[in-house]
């Protein structure tokens, strides 16, 4: 576009930019303003000297992070656990929203919606205790059933083979209801005429879901998938910390729990900033890649 044409284009979109202005000001002040803080990751931050006066240490903080004996193991755990959380945790709320949408009984629909979002409001401090109790080999209902059926009880929470599955499934269980709201909203936006037309063709419910509901909410699904791809590197500290035990360290210790105990000892901002920056760069790469792939098949990407 030539400069003049660009100017014209801005002029013709002036109302849009008037609307956009407060948001840009907001991002300028509250996000770009403090962003110089990322520099702390490359410094030995001194309280009284601030970012301006603290000495530069180059990549020392990153070397310390990557050089830890357990870093490789912890990074691998983080990626594996969150990859499965992403895949299953992404599909589950869509499935739930679609299922709720099929229900015709109003009270049942409302009750399921309200009840399924309850666990989101209880913190992991509270929930973890219940999960451990639920899976207890001596008194948990799961093992009582297993024993009843003639199997040996399994101490699931301390079995390396089970631990990641427990993390993934309890995470989904806690958040599925809450996450499904956005898809319910998307479904609510579907033009009912589309369903009316399909009635005439006499297609089954599953076909309706597959050919009408899913494609109609695809824009939301695609953007959610792209944005969530970054979460592969961001684990849920509260969940892992409260469920973690000595026997499953090697499969369950993740970046946040690992750096938490480091940070406790170190009172070290620079190290924490380096961890944060590392995670964010990885997340950015993931999101951009996901966006790139999605742009091949859909218009509903970020850019």
């Amino acid at each position: 576009m030539k400069p003049n044409a660009l100017f014209q284009s801005y002029l013709s979109h002036k109302y849009f930019f008037i609307m956009l202005l407060p948001v840009l000001v907001y991002y300028g002040i509250f996000h770009y303003g403090p962003m110089y803080g990322v520099l702390i990751a490359f410094q030995d931050y001194q309280f009284l000297k601030g970012v301006g006066g603290s000495p530069w240490v180059g990549l020392d903080n990153f070397r310390e992070l990557f050089g830890g004996l357990y870093f490789g193991q912890v990074l691998r755990n983080t990626l594996i656990i969150n990859f499965f959380k992403l895949i299953f945790g992404f599909i589950a709320p869509i499935l739930l929203a679609v299922m709720i949408n099929e229900v015709s009984s109003r009270w049942f629909k409302k009750s399921v919606q309200t009840i399924s979002y309850l666990p989101h409001f209880l913190s992991w401090v509270v929930l973890a205790g219940m999960v451990i109790e639920f899976l207890s080999p001596s008194r948990g209902p799961v093992n009582m059933l297993l024993t009843e059926l003639g199997f040996d009880p399994v101490f699931f929470i301390t079995e390396p083979g089970w631990f990641r599955s427990i993390l993934v499934s309890t995470d989904i269980w806690r958040n599925v209801g809450f996450s499904s709201i956005i898809y319910l909203a998307a479904i609510a936006g579907i033009n009912p005429e589309m369903y009316e037309a399909s009635e005439v063709d006499g297609i089954s419910r599953i076909q309706k879901i597959w050919y009408i509901t899913i494609p109609s909410i695809a824009p939301v699904i695609v953007i959610m998938l792209i944005l969530n791809s970054g979460t592969i590197i961001n684990d849920d500290f509260e969940q892992v910390f409260n469920l973690l035990n000595a026997k499953v360290m090697e499969v369950g210790d993740v970046l946040s729990t690992y750096t938490y105990s480091e940070g406790l000892l170190k009172m070290n901002y620079s190290y924490a900033a380096a961890v944060g920056l590392f995670k964010n760069v990885v997340a950015l790469v993931l999101v951009l890649s996901a966006n790139y792939i999605a742009s091949k098949v859909s218009d509903d990407t970020i850019f």
């Binding site: 931050y45 001194q46 309280f47 009284l48 601030g50 310390e64 830890g68 004996l69 357990y70 205790g129 451990i132 109790e133 207890s136 080999p137 001596s138 101490f155 929470i157 301390t158 910390f241 973690l244 035990n245 000595a246 026997k247 360290m249 090697e250 210790d253 729990t257 690992y258 938490y260 105990s261 480091e262 406790l264 000892l265 170190k266 009172m267 070290n268 901002y269």
Partner: protein
């Protein structure tokens, strides 16, 4: 009382005289006028000094407390202290659960209190290098707080080490009387009786016999084989029969708290790391045998404390195990205080009796091992020291005031009670010699809000505490004086923060694996030790030894 009365009188006189001469009622901000006028209206020099002080209170930004709750500046305790010392307190509130996060961000943005509690002594060098805290000359300490310094020198001389840096004192040590009593050993007496053991077990062999019978002879008489000997709380006690327990808190260490497994002790005159000592190999071999025999509850991995307060042992309350520990004498006090109506004993004893009304819980002693070693881990005898910040040092009166407050807290019993327990007559009274707590149900947060445990600057003066909690400490001296292990304090090391996380993980992995799996204990332990040494253990041990010897002047 009389003192306060006198002060009020003087301040009234000052206000009156200033009001007359300067023609203004308030004496708050206008010190110059006050200063000019005092000579004419007062006789002696000392009175003059007092009056100038009166006109200009020393203000202190106070973070010399645990800050479980935010003190109400108008509470009677705070008002009383302000009046007594002609001071004005501004309280910092720093969430006690997220202390470092919260405090650091404020320090980092250049804000500073005057009086700072140091929650983690490891941070002292960091505070010094960042210019946050200032050295306190010994002469000043001795001049303004002689009683307290004497108390420290006589009872806790080792605490000075923890607050020294390059030969200077950077904080005032605070003491923890409970740290002088090892953590307890609690047995199910009724179980011992049921399996025919009349003497509380003392040696490892006796422990083993009791555990084996607890496992196999149905001590709770419910006809089911659902009982075990021990779970995680008693493990350090067993390790202690062989030497310094390599892990002093299994739950804490497995949650990543390195201070629970990376500890130092003295051996042949050198500082050594406890978890890699060969005695631990023997101890772990025994525990593996016990685990295989079913004496250890497999659910020790998720701890016997499954809900609530940390000292609660649901496994013990539910008659699943026959021994517990980890906690203090006051948690399990099983003799009732006749002076407290409805006394039900210590909190955990009470919970136990509510769950098992017919059960009997008694104090035991740590297991004695084949070589005569025994003991449970002890808490730190140091509590959080109190420092004065570099900002506060700009006005020497502030340090003086802090020290005077500390001195007063250990010279005047009733004043001390007011600081720690609140207003006399409202929160507590004295019935003859006996201290009666009227608000014993206040939680730590509520206590702080009322101004309790705020302005004592963490001073915990043993003679006063023993006088106040006479029954408790007599009880403690009767049952709690068992053998215990306390760690050697080593000055802060760069190596500690660098390696301890990794070392803790290695230790937790090795200890749990040896106990719960079929690995050859001896070979696996040796492999662990080699690994431990190669990944920072050696470096840390050498640095600690060197630093310790420098500190004690060898």
């Amino acid at each position: 009382m009389t003192k306060a009365g006198k002060l009020t009188g003087v301040s009234l006189a000052v206000a009156l005289s200033m009001g007359l001469v300067a023609g203004c009622g308030g004496n708050g901000g206008n010190n110059e006028a006050g200063g000019q006028q005092t000579p004419t209206s007062s006789g002696t020099a000392s009175q003059q000094a007092q009056q100038t002080e009166q006109a200009k209170p020393i203000s202190l930004e106070w973070l010399g407390y645990d800050s479980y709750g935010q003190p109400n500046p108008n509470s009677s305790v705070i008002k009383m202290v302000e009046e007594k010392f002609n001071a004005k307190f501004d309280f910092w509130y720093v969430d006690s659960q997220k202390w470092e996060d919260n405090l650091n961000v404020r320090l980092a943005s250049g804000e500073m209190p005057d009086v700072l509690k140091i929650t983690n002594r490891q941070n002292i060098p960091k505070y010094i290098s960042q210019g946050i805290i200032s050295p306190i000359p010994m002469e000043t300490l001795e001049k303004f707080a002689p009683t307290y310094v004497k108390f420290l020198n006589e009872n806790y001389p080792e605490l000075w080490d923890g607050v020294m840096y390059e030969g200077q004192i950077y904080a005032i040590p605070m003491t923890n009387l409970n740290g002088t009593y090892p953590t307890v050993v609690i047995w199910r007496k009724d179980w011992l009786d049921n399996v025919g053991i009349s003497k509380i077990p003392e040696t490892i062999a006796e422990y083993e016999e009791a555990f084996t019978k607890f496992r196999n002879e149905d001590p709770d008489k419910d006809g089911k084989k659902d009982t075990y000997g021990l779970s995680d709380f008693a493990l350090p006690n067993i390790l202690g029969a062989y030497g310094y327990p390599g892990i002093s808190d299994f739950k804490g260490a497995s949650k990543g708290d390195a201070s629970k497994s990376v500890q130092f002790t003295m051996k042949d005159g050198n500082v050594v790391l406890t978890s890699i000592q060969p005695e631990m190999k023997e101890a772990l071999t025994l525990l593996q045998k016990w685990y295989k025999a079913g004496l250890i509850d497999p659910e020790f991995l998720t701890s016997e404390n499954t809900t609530g307060y940390w000292a609660d042992s649901q496994a013990f309350y539910n008659s699943k195990i026959g021994i517990t520990g980890m906690s203090m004498f006051y948690h399990w006090r099983n003799e009732l205080n006749p002076d407290i109506p409805d006394d039900a004993g210590g909190g955990q004893y009470k919970a136990f009796k509510e769950s098992v009304p017919d059960g009997e819980a008694v104090f035991g002693v740590p297991a004695v091992g084949p070589n005569g070693a025994s003991g449970t881990p002890m808490w730190d005898t140091a509590s959080h020291p109190i420092a004065i910040t570099s900002k506060a040092m700009e006005n020497p009166e502030k340090l003086e005031l802090l020290l005077k407050m500390i001195e007063a807290a250990c010279t005047d019993y009733e004043y001390y009670l007011t600081l720690t327990n609140g207003e006399k007559g409202v929160d507590w009274t004295l019935d003859g010699d006996k201290f009666v707590n009227l608000t014993a149900t206040d939680t730590l947060a509520e206590a702080n809000v009322k101004g309790k445990n705020v302005l004592n600057a963490k001073v915990s003066y043993d003679p006063f505490i023993k006088q106040r909690d006479k029954f408790d400490y007599e009880f403690a001296d009767k049952y709690g004086k068992i053998s215990g292990y306390s760690a050697v304090f080593v000055p802060t090391l760069e190596e500690f923060s660098k390696y301890s996380n990794t070392l803790n993980k290695l230790t937790v992995d090795a200890y749990f694996k040896i106990i719960t799996s079929d690995v050859d204990p001896s070979a696996y332990f040796d492999e662990y030790v080699a690994n431990f040494r190669a990944n920072g253990g050696d470096e840390l041990e050498k640095a600690a030894d060197k630093a310790y010897k420098e500190m004690v002047g060898q």
